[in-house]
Symmetry: C2
Subunit: 255 residues, 2 copies
């Protein structure tokens, strides 16, 4: 009575129109991968609340029992969706994991470029899948022994090491970078999401926030007011990378 535990696929992000797709083909068998793929699509379409066993059964043209045969419960499904998206985001990075039987030896990248690649890979994945930041954070703190945590930690950590951070600070620096990446990218994703379109009302969103900040009480909020413009005018990607650079400066300074 043990369900099959197939390894989670890597490329589970099949792009489709955001609209609800009607029940379609169902000639091929139901697999853990197909379920995970559908889960990712539902999460992308309607964020957190979009993933429902009802919606899932409709999209896959089955009953809930069929899904529960492949997946233990909803949180396992969320873990699988997270793992799939993270794997896809990280495999393009400079630390490509299995590497095969030694391919044609990629050109070496500078440590700075390596770090940027990893950080932006996660940044872009979170922008494409806004639910990812929350899920990743939850999974990392809830089960550090899971598959996802070491995968992310390793990718960042290898860059930390390559950049010459002293060994005593490896854990601290990697943790700081990890938390910053998730937090900043998550915030950016929320900004991008506001208003539906990827860039439609993003400016309006930031304008509203900036304006609200400038209307705060000058006595209680002098700092926030003074920084309101800095927040509205910045380029998000550049700002994100500036944060990475700032942390790395601290990590290599000896701390």
């Amino acid at each position: 009575v043990t369900p099959p535990r197939t390894r989670s696929g890597t490329g589970a992000t099949a792009k489709t129109g955001a609209g609800a797709r009607k029940a379609e083909r169902r000639s091929d068998a139901l697999t853990r991968e197909r379920i995970t793929e559908a889960a990712v699509e539902l999460l992308d379409a309607a964020d957190e609340g979009g993933l429902t066993f009802r919606a899932l059964t409709q999209r896959l043209a089955t009953g809930p029992g069929a899904i529960y045969w492949h997946v233990a419960n909803k949180s396992e499904l969320l873990e699988a969706a997270t793992a799939a998206v993270v794997a896809a985001a990280l495999e393009a990075g400079p630390v490509s994991p299995p590497a095969g039987p030694s391919g044609p030896a990629k050109p070496p990248v500078s440590p700075q470029d390596g770090m940027r690649t990893v950080a932006l890979g996660l940044y872009d994945a979170i922008e494409a899948h806004p639910w990812l930041a929350t899920q990743l954070a939850a999974q990392i703190s809830r089960s550090p022994w899971g598959a996802v945590t070491p995968r992310v930690f390793e990718s960042i950590g290898q860059q930390v090491r390559a950049l010459g951070v002293p060994e005593g600070s490896w854990f601290t620096a990697t943790s700081a970078l990890l938390h910053y990446i998730l937090g900043a990218a998550g915030q950016n994703a929320a900004n991008s999401e506001a208003g539906g379109g990827p860039h439609a009302s993003r400016g309006a969103f930031l304008d509203a926030a900036s304006t609200a900040w400038k209307e705060l009480d000058p006595d209680d909020y002098p700092f926030t007011r003074s920084v309101a413009d800095q927040m509205r005018t910045h380029d998000d990607r550049a700002e994100f990378l500036a944060g990475i650079a700032l942390i790395l400066a601290g990590a290599t300074a000896g701390a």
Copy 2:
């Protein structure tokens, strides 16, 4: 037909036994503060999932309609609970907000101590209320114009300024610190929570994680394996402060 919008109280964390309390007194009127207080208690007792309108009505000895008269919906209730706990955590800090008609002038604190006080205030609040990290992160990214975001941002930012960080880096440094604090404290809270007791099986939790990390494939996970011990043996509070110091070192270095 507009419900009253009383200002959210500051000290809403009334400590009570963790067990479910039976329906009690109900002589006094229902207020937004009393509802928020009960919400915080339910969240503390059973994390995220513990806050339910059913549980809330039972604890307050009312029907759901009564609660909906004071509070628009569940997410507003979560916002209020977050705001109350954050206010309590921050009011002890070095930047005490209204300050009254200039009291007896507190002894000046060094910028380093000020930063530590603010950071540890949030750290402790998150450890006492593990749901806080997620809620705060969600609220900060979803509505930067809300009441909570500027409150937290200001507290951290004033310390950043006091520490002599160049103005061009204020926003970046404050963001990095904020995300680090939420992430690291959230992770610590999850560790503490594992096993119910505050310190009961925390060691076991970290041991399990550390052991799992050391059993990873040496080819794919050299870095994670090498820091497995660093993660198990560290003192959490010291590690947390080391992260703060690391980011500040980067921020003051010129970045």
